[in-house]
């Protein structure tokens, strides 16, 4: 997994509450054999009409938000099914951080597995960040995971909580595989010894 350190980027406002996983990535895209490429269909039914044309009003279709790396969203983000396709789609689109007042549990967990930082903030902070996000592409928000701080485009700083182990894994870019690779020296040593003792393997 890519290391998550500090990001400074455009935040897209999605004040809608209860954005579910079917909105994030509709069922028809689950038959895929991939987890990459799903960004093209992120929020598919909100983003495109039946003919596949972009709906200009949708936030991620607006020029100033097309490269958003942060999403500020309404309450209960990511509810619905357990599909890991939802975080895959978000990450593939380029969004690395989602801020809301609350998240669905499974989605929340799935985010960390896929290099996305979900941040829970109280309502008034989310309101402030939402207003900041609405300023468009000149307003860049900063997420500093190390310091556990969000800084708005006009310099207001808000602290957030994150589980220490998950923070560590995100900072180091560690997934299960990453954690195992931290023991790579042991694996190398094992392999060398085995090459001597069981060369036929």
């Amino acid at each position: 997994m890519e290391k998550f350190q500090k990001i400074t980027g455009v935040a897209a406002p999605m004040p809608l509450v209860n954005i579910d996983t079917d909105m994030i990535i509709p069922k028809v895209f689950l038959k895929t054999i991939k987890r990459s490429g799903l960004g093209a269909n992120l929020f598919d039914e909100m983003r495109f009409d039946r003919q596949g044309n972009e709906i200009p009003d949708f936030v991620l279709n607006k020029p100033q938000y097309r490269d958003a790396e942060i999403l500020v969203a309404g309450d209960n983000f990511g509810c619905g099914s357990s599909r890991e396709h939802a975080p895959w789609a978000i990450r593939d689109f380029g969004i690395k951080c989602v801020i809301s007042t609350s998240f669905a549990d499974i989605f929340f967990n799935n985010c960390f597995k896929n290099g996305i930082l979900p941040i829970v903030m109280p309502q008034e902070v989310v309101d402030t960040l939402m207003a900041d996000a609405e300023k468009g592409s000149n307003a860049r928000m900063t997420i500093n995971l190390e310091a556990q701080e969000v800084t708005t485009s006009d310099g207001q700083v808000f602290e957030f909580e994150v589980d220490p182990f998950r923070k560590h894994c995100l900072l180091e870019g560690l997934d299960d595989i990453g954690l195992t690779l931290a023991h790579e020296a042991s694996i190398d040593m094992f392999e060398e010894a085995a090459a001597q003792s069981r060369p036929w393997v």
């Binding site: 987890r35 997934d175 595989i177 694996i187 003792s197 036929w200």
Partner: protein
């Protein structure tokens, strides 16, 4: 002196690459088998993270679950869109990541658990994994082999290790000799009938005893294949002369001095005198009869001479389960198992798709015809099994009897390719799972040995093969 060890202990100890403070280990994996259904997202994960396959030379891929088994597959594309895409993805992933690959067009293609041993990839004392629960099959060689999920597939691809905690030791001993007409399939089903589908949960089973020793490698693979139906992630049989003879000369088995060195180590792979087992089950070989399953769980096993049991003869939650199973299977309580009529016979799968299985079925079928109206199908487990069966004249026996002679794949073992049961159709099947819908929506499955399947094909009902011998 070191404490006596079981075979499982020995293989485990030889593969721990790292042990954490909490006892969680990184188990080094010697062979990773890959098929098209559980691997696409794992390879994709590697791509996304910019990782490589750590040991492509220890990774072997083959498409089997989705592939059609009809003769026209060679020329045509796979009609089902999703299946085609999965097979094509494996083609590409195998190429991009440089792993060993047997594409559909290769005569060596077949069911992953048949191809591995056949090509000499599976050797005694190895750790073997595959994103498929029937990986237990490879335990027949005295290899520690079990199924894993897609995220673990990715983990093994990237690190050649698996995060594991050690399981418990269970011994299943089959003493004495088998009676004529009784096969490895009957042993493994009888064991599940005895222990239940949860009996092996948390354990690695070592099968031993005279009846196991007497089995060929094919038979041993059949026994270990269904360890998972008994709840055990892995089943093992200590390697012996039968094993060494099977392995020797296989394309990827060690040769010359390396073979000698390997052999010396393989000979140390047995359970020491006095080693501790957490659980022991013993069956007498001479008591085992040809069995069939009547219900929708592999533990719903009875000798062919029995009748459909009454739900009240069970206890607890099983009473309801049995009621449901009898209704699903369309049976009557007290009905003789030999009175159950069959529409379809399927001989194949990683349980019973090897040459010996085809020989056993052909021996029953020789010079006879399947019952009128019967749909009967033989699907060899690999292209090489198919070729050998043709050479031995078995294919001719099958086709003369009225069986379809198919190309290798998982076929009707699971309803993922075109070979499926229609609603309500009843099948005598040599596969390993009789779950609701396993062979097709509302299809009904009776698990049997190849010889019993052949017997049912001739009579049109479940039949005691001993009457035909």
């Amino acid at each position: 002196m070191t404490a006596p060890k079981t075979l499982y202990d020995k293989i485990w100890d030889a593969h721990v690459a790292h042990e954490g403070d909490d006892g969680t280990c990184l188990l080094y994996i010697d062979r990773h088998l890959v098929h098209e259904v559980t691997s696409p997202q794992a390879f994709e994960g590697l791509r996304l993270a910019g990782r490589k396959v750590r040991a492509p030379e220890k990774t072997i891929a083959v498409p089997d679950h989705n592939v059609p088994t009809t003769l026209d597959r060679v020329s045509g594309v796979i009609a089902n869109e999703e299946s085609r895409i999965q097979v094509e993805a494996l083609d590409k992933n195998a190429k991009d990541f440089g792993v060993h690959y047997y594409p559909v067009s290769d005569v060596r293609q077949g069911i992953v658990h048949i191809v591995g041993p056949e090509q000499g990839w599976t050797l005694p004392g190895m750790t073997v994994v595959c994103g498929d629960s029937h990986t237990a099959t490879h335990g027949a060689f005295g290899a520690l082999a079990h199924g894993i999920g897609t995220s673990e597939v990715e983990h093994v691809l990237a690190t050649q290790t698996l995060i594991q905690r050690k399981g418990k030791n269970m011994k299943v001993e089959i003493t004495g000799k088998l009676k004529p007409g009784v096969t490895a399939k009957d042993i493994t089903l009888a064991v599940i009938g005895e222990t239940g589908t949860g009996g092996g949960t948390g354990y690695v089973i070592e099968y031993c005893g005279e009846a196991i020793r007497d089995l060929s490698m094919e038979g041993r693979m059949t026994v270990c294949n269904m360890a998972i139906e008994g709840g055990a992630r892995a089943g093992l049989i200590a390697p012996d002369e039968t094993t060494f003879a099977y392995v020797k000369g296989r394309p990827h088995a060690p040769k010359g001095a390396q073979y000698e060195a390997a052999l010396a180590w393989w000979k140390t792979l047995y359970t020491d005198e006095g080693a501790h087992f957490d659980k022991v089950v013993t069956l007498k070989g001479e008591d085992i009869q040809p069995v069939v399953t009547w219900g929708t769980s592999p533990e719903d096993v009875l000798p062919i001479s029995a009748v459909v049991p009454a739900p009240e003869s069970f206890e607890g939650g099983k009473v309801e389960a049995v009621k449901r199973a009898i209704a699903y299977m369309g049976l009557e309580v007290g009905q003789k198992l030999t009175d159950i009529k069959i529409d379809t016979v399927f001989i194949g799968s990683c349980t019973n798709g090897r040459i010996e299985d085809l020989r056993a079925a052909a021996a029953i079928l020789k010079g006879k015809k399947v019952k009128d109206g019967m749909r009967a199908m033989v699907v060899p487990g690999s292209g090489l099994v198919r070729a050998q069966a043709e050479e031995e004249g078995l294919a001719q026996i099958f086709t003369d009897a009225g069986f379809e002679w198919r190309l290798a794949g998982c076929s009707m073992c699971l309803a993922m390719n075109p070979d499926q049961l229609a609603e309500g159709e009843r099948c005598a099947s040599t596969s390993n799972r009789n779950f609701e819908g396993r062979q097709g929506y509302k299809g009904r499955t009776h698990l049997v040995s190849p010889a019993m399947a052949a017997a049912a094909a001739l009579t049109g009902h479940l039949t005691d093969v001993r009457e035909m011998m």
